[in-house]
């Protein structure tokens, strides 16, 4: 690396060189040049857009033309709090997010434990990649795959038929299954990382002191890995909370995401006001997660 710089031509006295010298002497100017792009884009562009959205929640709509009128009002928030439909949708979505999170946590444990503590290092590496790769397969594709599998003549009912069973896939239960599928890898990876960090000596000590497998798991392993579970739950929870495509593909029921999506054209202020719900819940969730030391488990 250093050898390369010996081959450089002798210093030029060009404008470029002078600019470069100036930058070298003024680290603040250098920093300013580095920051101009990212700050302009993310802070002014992106945070600015968010601000426009959050502000839109305080605007009024003309009842006849449904045009946005820029008069300050709190009516949109009142609508959301007072209309039972919005409340039901919010409760349904949060319940779904909690259920999905719980299911993902239960399903993630065996494979994460196997990866972290039983598998050979070669198998472990393969398993990490095997869990990681599907995360990058298009989310729409996965939701669509389940739409096909869950249909009346689909693969799931075909598999259940010999047992005399059938499953109404296009239902809340079906959506719960799809969400669990979509976000499961987000839970497996942090739990695996959390389990891998526990020193074997702790578990051996517990066994030496007479703790059987179950007791060791409940009293030693689980408390140590709990922050990692909370870390994983941030994704399973937040992704379920804001999703509108899977509900659209699988059920006819309304969720926070679908309500926002459907009212974006007809009533932007109410849609904007409704976004305060998932944003508020996630902020609260992150604060609690931080308390539980979940961020250190990431």
């Amino acid at each position: 690396m250093t050898a390369v710089s010996y081959e450089q031509p002798p210093p030029r006295r060009s404008t470029g060189r002078r600019l470069s010298t100036f930058l070298h002497r003024h680290p603040r100017a250098r920093l300013g040049l580095l920051l101009a792009g990212p700050v302009g884009w993310l802070v002014i562009g992106y945070l600015g857009s968010l601000f426009v959205l959050l502000l839109a929640a305080f605007w009024d709509t003309d009842p006849f033309t449904s045009e946005v009128v820029k008069d300050f009002t709190l009516d949109n928030f009142a609508t959301i709090v007072e209309t039972p439909v919005y409340r039901d949708v919010a409760v349904r979505t949060v319940t779904m997010a909690a259920l999905v999170t719980l299911t993902c946590a239960v399903l993630a444990f065996p494979i994460a434990y196997y990866m972290a503590r039983v598998a050979s290092s070669r198998t472990r590496g393969l398993l990490v990649v095997a869990v990681l790769m599907p995360l990058w397969a298009s989310y729409l594709v996965k939701a669509y795959a389940w739409r096909t599998i869950l249909s009346d003549g689909g693969a799931l009912n075909w598999a259940l038929e010999p047992f005399g069973l059938s499953f109404d896939g296009y239902s809340t239960a079906g959506l719960w299954l799809v969400f669990t599928y979509l976000w499961l890898p987000y839970m497996i990876l942090p739990v695996y990382a959390g389990l891998e960090r526990i020193p074997s000596s702790l578990l051996e000590a517990s066994a030496d002191l007479g703790g059987r497998s179950v007791r060791t798991f409940v009293r030693v392993t689980f408390p140590l890995v709990f922050p990692a579970v909370v870390a994983g739950s941030i994704f399973t929870f937040s992704l379920t909370l804001g999703d509108y495509i899977a509900p659209d593909l699988i059920t006819s029921q309304q969720f926070i995401g679908t309500v926002i999506y459907d009212s974006r054209g007809t009533n932007l202020p109410v849609a904007a006001a409704f976004t305060y719900v998932p944003i508020g819940i996630m902020v609260l969730y992150l604060v609690v997660a931080r308390r539980l030391r979940a961020f250190e488990a990431l």
Binding site: L47, S49, L53, A137, A207, I260
Partner: protein, 284 residues
């Protein structure tokens, strides 16, 4: 070993079942691309590759693919530049608001996609609209670049943390100017991280649908074409072929990114995990 042989056998079985749960749906939807029939029955009765040429000659699919490639290229280039600049600033300088910047980088993927999408749409339509801005390829690229910055940033900052700033100081001591130092010292160190970050950004942009719906106006990227055609029974076979193509096209870049950067540096998750991890890393 604390685990009894029985526990280990049960864990192995559960792991195999979980992997099957993860992969079987992808395999099934892949098989549908070879379904000869227009109806989506299971099991598939006769296999055929005829829909591949139908999809290949479909005007809508071609336009959508072209638009997706343009959007992904544009977004990747912007993300590479902005992500590198941000990671250089955060890793090599101490300044007021450094933590806020790393927070702003992750926010676009930490917030639900619908919030980001609606915010961009409201701004483009209501604020920039009166200035003559319309929904176009440019607005799609802007939306994608916004959430692609973080994957480049994550890869480059991880690399910059591991390489000491002293090399750059040595370079300037030996008479290199700022540009030469960047070109001959900093950039070569970051090359593979940039390549990995770029591949991930491309994959992320190529199959994004949640934000794109809000920023694309009437235009269709490939995932949006899928979304708007999957409710039409007639288009089902073509949708299946496109879906298989999208799976393969998004997994290949990720595979190479992993080979280049090592499984550890490719951020496990495309959304919040990488982001939150980056924010925590950034704390001094």
């Amino acid at each position: 070993m604390v685990e009894s042989p029985l526990t280990r056998a049960l864990l192995r079985l559960a792991s195999a079942l979980t992997l099957a749960f993860i992969y079987v749906p992808l395999v099934i939807i892949g098989l549908y691309a070879f379904n000869e029939s227009v109806t989506q029955g299971w099991p598939i009765e006769r296999f055929s590759t005829k829909w591949f040429s139908v999809a290949f000659h479909n005007e809508g699919v071609r336009d959508a693919l072209l638009l997706s490639l343009q959007a992904a290229l544009g977004a990747t280039l912007i993300a590479l530049v902005l992500g590198t600049l941000a990671s250089l600033a955060v890793s090599r300088y101490a300044f007021f608001g450094r933590e806020s910047l790393s927070f702003a980088v992750i926010l676009p993927i930490a917030l639900p996609g619908i919030v980001t999408g609606l915010a961009l749409q409201a701004t483009i339509r209501d604020v920039l609209g009166p200035l003559g801005v319309t929904f176009s390829l440019t607005t799609i690229i802007v939306g994608h670049a916004t959430f692609c910055i973080v994957v480049v940033y994550n890869n480059t900052i991880a690399r910059l943390r591991r390489t000491a700033g002293s090399l750059e100081e040595a370079s300037s001591d030996l008479g290199a100017d700022s540009w030469q130092t960047f070109r001959y010292v900093t950039l070569p160190q970051m090359r593979s991280a940039l390549l990995a970050g770029g591949l991930l950004a491309f994959a992320l942009s190529f199959d994004e649908v949640v934000v794109t719906i809000f920023t694309s106006g009437a235009q269709q990227t490939l995932p949006i074409w899928v979304y708007s055609n999957l409710f039409r029974p007639v288009e089902q076979p073509v949708v299946n072929v496109v879906v298989l193509f999208v799976i393969v096209a998004s997994i290949i870049p990720v595979y190479f990114a992993q080979r280049i950067a090592g499984a550890g540096t490719v951020i496990a998750d495309r959304r919040a995990k990488g982001g939150v991890a980056a924010a925590i890393d950034a704390e001094p």
